[in-house]
Symmetry: C2
């Protein structure tokens, strides 16, 4: 039996059955049959077999079938099959799997680095405007406990970013073996300090500390990470406004906005349900009137689910988990994953890849964030933005 | 053209195409063809037309096609088509639309009234145990502002329910024109009163009052409604525990548990995203490892989405919105809607119906909650449970 999987994409049931039906038609009549069938499918009506099979005809040569599958299986103007997320509709989306077979589009790259730069420039302008107007400089305090190399790098980058936009950055480096109380003391100090508008505790904390106690100690008005349950609750509730939106999911949505991807009424699938990314991302998409499904480790059919999405936010931390076959043609993909994989050709011996197989995604999707250079730079930009928002709010500065 | 809609159920694309393909086979060979095609579909492989259409044959008589659609379109033992949510799997679920056509099963009725009674009995036992052990009686305070008939009825029912299980009920009836401050005074009074373990503000409040200010004034330890953003935030976050779970969604999940409906890994669709039911219900289902999608007014294809669900929670407040064609055969349906519709035969001139068309659901689903007598009685039972939980927590009573 011949297995029809062009470029690793698996045809949908509808496609398989449609192709088989079309096989029963003489090639000249396939275009009209295809359109006729699509009309029936849209109206959900069952035509009389007689109205289609005026006479039957099929190919008995596998090679010729294979050939017709890889090229245009029948003559239909590609335009009527090609799919764009900007004009998606239930009807048109039905045609996607076929579109996947007959189009070879290459997706747009969503340049997070460029957008983040743009946002930092905007923040720089606002910070100096604020300083000149009321003499206030936004301040961000970062607490780092222990000596994890990656954490140290993140903190250093945040510090650099603050300086680049004119935000004051304070830093507390505590030893690995410090007590919860010592950390809490620093937090209450920053809670009281009027020059501090944002407090950030670098995670993960040493295992002997209670992360909840420590995060809950941060004054909600200074919780620029937006991880406080009260913030999350307000994010989930209609008619409520969170003080801060968590930086990474906020960055994902900002990318969609800056690339004018319409969210309202679109099918969105969030892969992963972490408190830091997946869950708040789903809440944000829902606030923007997307129809949201959350796919996670217990989901029985993640591929089938994900293939329905116009917008995919992948945040699971599994290298290249989302293949081309998971993606609906024309979908927009925000890849939050940053996974190191072995790479002999690289001096470091490894390279960073996302949760989505980039090469395959580029063939099926309409827009994709690269890794690195996609969501990564946005996270820090959003942290700066939250710090600015906090300073403005505390000083009633518009 | 004949439109194949047995009992208002609309066939899926897969069904339409499958039936058409089967029409091309002599009736004797349809069972084998059907199984063969299903195998291909499961494996997502495209068979050679030649391997199916050894020769073509179809009916040219509309009446005979119609006949075969309404009865068994081809001879397959019904057992291999019948579907049960207890053994659902991606593979078996593919067969549903056909099962919908060839089986005439009647769903199990989920008796919320009986379950609520059972829970009230359990609470009664615990309340008296607590009273005997530490002499504490749980107390619920209800604040009613204005003279809405429906609100008055709800409050009266809650009062009755409290008495029935031995919980003290306090009540404050304020006039329609009372000020926000007066309401806030009552709340702070109850906040301080050690004999009050739960405070409930009956909604809706008069339009001149700020609902948020008033609800936020209730001490979170006594927020038995569970509507406080901090509670909702904890509900949304993994590894966090809310103090209280909102009563109606809690009741929905409790019904699933008491009828031992497995939730983990199942597809769940929540219709409606209100702060009071839809949103927290979705969060609860996700906490139980369901794969959750939220359908709302902006969803472009609510029917298609809902038809994928193993578990449906409908909470939109639209009479009979969910038709049989929206339901996957074997799905479990929790209907939160309570909608009055004209009914000449009833002395009151109207009757109450849910968001789901009960008669149609009973033909397709495996279990359905009736309206009334489904979720309704559970809501009050959960309110009593939350009040008991609160009293136990405040007095460290296990």
């Amino acid at each position: 039996m011949f297995s029809g999987k062009p470029q690793g994409k698996r045809p949908s049931h509808r496609t398989i059955l449609l192709l088989l039906l079309l096989q029963t038609r003489p090639s000249k009549q396939r275009t009209t049959t295809f359109r006729f069938l699509n009309r029936c499918l849209r109206n959900r009506t069952i035509p009389m077999a007689s109205s289609i099979f005026t006479h039957c005809h099929y190919s008995s040569s596998p090679s010729s079938l294979a050939f017709r599958l890889h090229r245009h299986p029948f003559h239909v103007p590609p335009t009527c099959l090609r799919f764009s997320f900007l004009h998606s509709s239930p009807a048109s989306s039905h045609v996607d799997p076929l579109a996947a077979m007959v189009t070879e589009s290459s997706a747009k790259v969503i340049d997070g680095k460029a957008v983040a730069k743009q946002i930092r420039d905007e923040i720089t302008a606002e910070v100096s405007k604020m300083r000149e107007a009321i003499g206030v400089i936004p301040g961000l305090a970062v607490i780092l406990v222990g000596d994890r190399k990656d954490s140290a790098t993140y903190v250093r980058n945040k510090k650099k970013a603050c300086e680049s936009v004119g935000i004051n950055s304070l830093e507390a480096n505590l030893p690995e073996d410090s007590t919860e109380e010592e950390v809490l003391n620093y937090i209450s100090g920053y809670n009281e300090d009027p020059s501090v508008h944002g407090i950030l505790v670098q995670l993960p904390l040493p295992s002997h500390m209670n992360e909840q106690n420590i995060l809950n100690a941060v004054r909600i008005e200074k919780d620029v990470d937006g991880f406080h349950p009260l913030n999350i609750g307000r994010l989930a509730m209609r008619g409520r406004e969170p003080l801060f939106v968590p930086c990474t999911p906020k960055g994902c949505i900002e990318l969609l906005h800056r690339y004018s991807v319409s969210i309202k009424g679109k099918r969105a699938v969030v892969i992963g349900r972490s408190n830091i990314v997946g869950m708040p991302a789903a809440l944000l998409l829902q606030r923007e009137d997307a129809t949201v499904s959350v796919v996670h480790s217990r989901t029985s059919n993640p591929e089938e689910m994900t293939r329905q999405a116009d917008i995919i936010i992948a945040a699971v931390g599994q290298a290249n988990m989302v293949k081309g076959s998971w993606i609906k043609p024309g979908a927009v993909i925000i890849d939050v994953g940053i996974n190191p994989v072995e790479d002999a050709s690289s001096p470091r011996g490894y390279k960073l890849v996302g949760d989505v197989c980039y090469e395959e995604a580029m063939k099926v999707a309409s827009a994709v964030t690269p890794v690195p250079g996609g969501v990564g730079p946005m996270t820090i930009a959003m942290l700066l933005q939250n710090t600015l928002i906090s300073a403005k709010r505390m000083h009633n500065f518009e």
